[in-house]
């Protein structure tokens, strides 16, 4: 793990510890996807929808790094007057396109945005990040039908496949499902590996909507969280745990 991605994780743990809030494991599973997407893939004319809004600490850490928000903003995460909530609000944060939190909302919105780009003859892609747990929602599959029907080759659905749903209703065979709905599907074995992540973005289809499935680890980077992802889903670390986690990342 690069020092930058370690720093993001430390920032997230710190603000979660101080403000006693946040979905840390979900943020850790999407950090690499978001960072490489924002730093190397997204162009001015592209749009990104974070559908799994509870992973927003990763987005905030990346936004802080890119200068979209200030350190003061970041430090205020989830406090009463903060612009950064436990789920992002598009009317408060510049650069956020959807106020998410309720699952299954981002992909339909991204379809609308991709369609609008075509109607208005605008170039640029629309990216939307959903989760495998989120894929329980029927709107994911309604959207899979609609994107194919509308021939939205400018739409790329990113799936954070972190196995968070294995204890309930696991959305198995996501790849096969999207293929059967007429999408171009790519699978990334390690969604935390820079070259694998970036390589997938080079293989987006020019005539079909693309789905990229990133196999990730919920809580990636901290053993204790990876191994107890359910207990950690919505829990802030204690001071003692902070020390242990920082040590693990090599402070």
């Amino acid at each position: 793990m690069t020092s930058k991605l370690k720093k993001f994780r430390k920032d997230i743990l710190t603000v979660s510890f101080l403000n006693k809030s946040g979905h840390v494991p979900s943020a850790f599973s999407i950090l690499e996807i978001l960072y490489y997407l924002y730093s190397e893939v997204l162009r001015e004319e592209d749009s990104f929808f974070l559908s799994k809004g509870h992973g927003c600490l990763a987005l905030y850490a990346v936004f802080l790094d890119l200068g979209f928000i200030t350190q003061e903003d970041f430090d205020s995460f989830s406090l009463y007057d903060s612009i950064l909530g436990g789920h992002p609000d598009r009317n408060k944060i510049k650069g956020v396109l959807c106020s998410s939190g309720s699952l299954g909302h981002g992909l339909p919105m991204a379809i609308g945005a991709a369609l609008s780009k075509k109607i208005q003859k605008k170039c640029g892609n629309v990216y939307c990040l959903i989760g495998d747990g989120e894929s329980n929602e029927g709107t994911t599959w309604e959207s899979a039908i609609l994107a194919n029907h509308l021939k939205l080759e400018n739409l790329i659905c990113l799936v954070d496949n972190n196995n968070s749903q294995i204890r309930s209703v696991s959305t198995r065979t996501i790849k096969e499902k999207f293929i059967s709905f007429g999408w171009h599907v790519l699978e990334v074995n390690n969604g935390h590996d820079k070259s694998q992540v970036l390589n997938s973005f080079d293989n987006i289809s020019q005539d079909k909507p693309t789905c990229i499935i990133f196999n990730t680890k919920k809580g990636h980077g901290i053993k204790e969280i990876e191994e107890n992802m359910f207990a950690w889903h919505h829990r802030a670390p204690t001071e003692k745990e902070m020390e242990k986690f920082f040590k693990e990342m090599g402070e």
Binding site: S47, P108, G112, Q120, S143
Partner: protein, 303 residues
């Protein structure tokens, strides 16, 4: 009103290149000309109301002004959370126009009825709710509010009144200055029945059911003070509809309650009969005779 809807949509898409229409596999034939003239702004998205609302929100986030059109219970009640989150919370300029008002699809049963749409939508911040009573009113309210940046809902009914009205969005209109003790509030096509059911009562018409202007609220309070009884008449659930809107306005205005405050509308139950809408109106006392009887009951109580 549906024919007018097709004309209004055609004109709107013709005038505004950012306007687009998404239908939920209904009125496709009615909108044939719209589809032919504007093929890249007309989309029949099939039967997936939740995604339909989400899509419209995403389009609005890119600057389009989408109109969503489908049957009331499916677009309002099935997709209620999408309306709350994607339209109201995010404050997107999306217009919903429903058909199948209240019990217009009487014979199809309760799954196709929708007398709670106004009630539940009125509870959502940012949602502007309109109940036009005629084609002309729909066209006027639609065009007057077009592009105002807020989510909007228009309830189209199969029946309409044949009166000429001078209305404005977000305003109540005094239709008749009566000499009687009753003050009647009405919305939608029932305006006609109401004017025929009473001869000397004051009638205030309220085609907008959320975000009424302060001026209109003041007018409503002033008229309430001048009348002994208040009766509200609506083809909607009496829970959360026009009657409650008027009651809330009087409470906010700290107006003393009238001797009687009566809400005439759809009672708190499923209308599990079939037949046609006229039969339901008759059974509910929402026809001329029924409304007249209610008003006369008021009179008898006064004696």
């Amino acid at each position: 009103m549906r024919k007018q809807f097709a004309q209004t949509i055609f004109k709107t898409l013709d005038d505004d290149p950012l306007a687009a229409i998404l239908i939920g596999d209904i009125s496709h034939y009615l909108l044939k000309e719209v589809e032919e003239k504007f093929p890249n702004r007309f989309y029949n998205m099939g039967i997936c109301e939740q995604s339909l609302i989400g899509m419209a929100s995403g389009m609005a986030s890119m600057g389009n002004k989408p109109i969503v059109h489908t049957i009331a219970p499916f677009c309002v009640e099935r997709a209620f959370e999408q309306i709350k989150v994607d339209l109201c919370y995010q404050k997107t300029d999306v217009t919903i126009v429903s058909v199948g008002s209240s019990f217009d699809y009487a014979s199809l049963g309760c799954t196709h009825h929708c007398y709670e749409d106004i009630s539940i939508l009125r509870s959502l911040p940012n949602m502007q709710v309109f109940v036009p009573g005629s084609s002309a009113e729909f066209d006027y309210l639609f065009k007057k509010t077009w592009g105002n940046g807020s989510p909007k809902y228009f309830k189209l009914s199969a029946k309409e009144h044949n009166l000429k009205t001078l209305i404005e969005p977000f305003e109540a209109t005094v239709i008749r200055e009566g000499t009687g003790k009753n003050l009647l509030f009405v919305c939608g096509h029932l305006l006609e029945e109401t004017t025929m059911a009473s001869s000397d009562d004051t009638i205030i018409y309220v085609p907008t059911l959320s975000y009424l202007s302060d001026g209109s609220k003041k007018t409503i309070c002033e008229y309430a003070l001048k009348h002994k009884n208040i009766i509200t008449i609506e083809e909607n659930s009496v829970i959360g509809g026009l009657g409650d809107e008027i009651f809330n306005i009087l409470c906010e205005g700290k107006v003393r309650l009238p001797d009687r405050f009566e809400k005439i509308g759809v009672p708190h139950k499923f209308l599990n009969k079939y037949g046609n809408a006229a039969q339901h109106r008759k059974a509910l006392g929402l026809d001329i005779r029924g409304i007249k009887e209610k008003i006369n009951v008021e009179r008898q109580n006064e004696l």
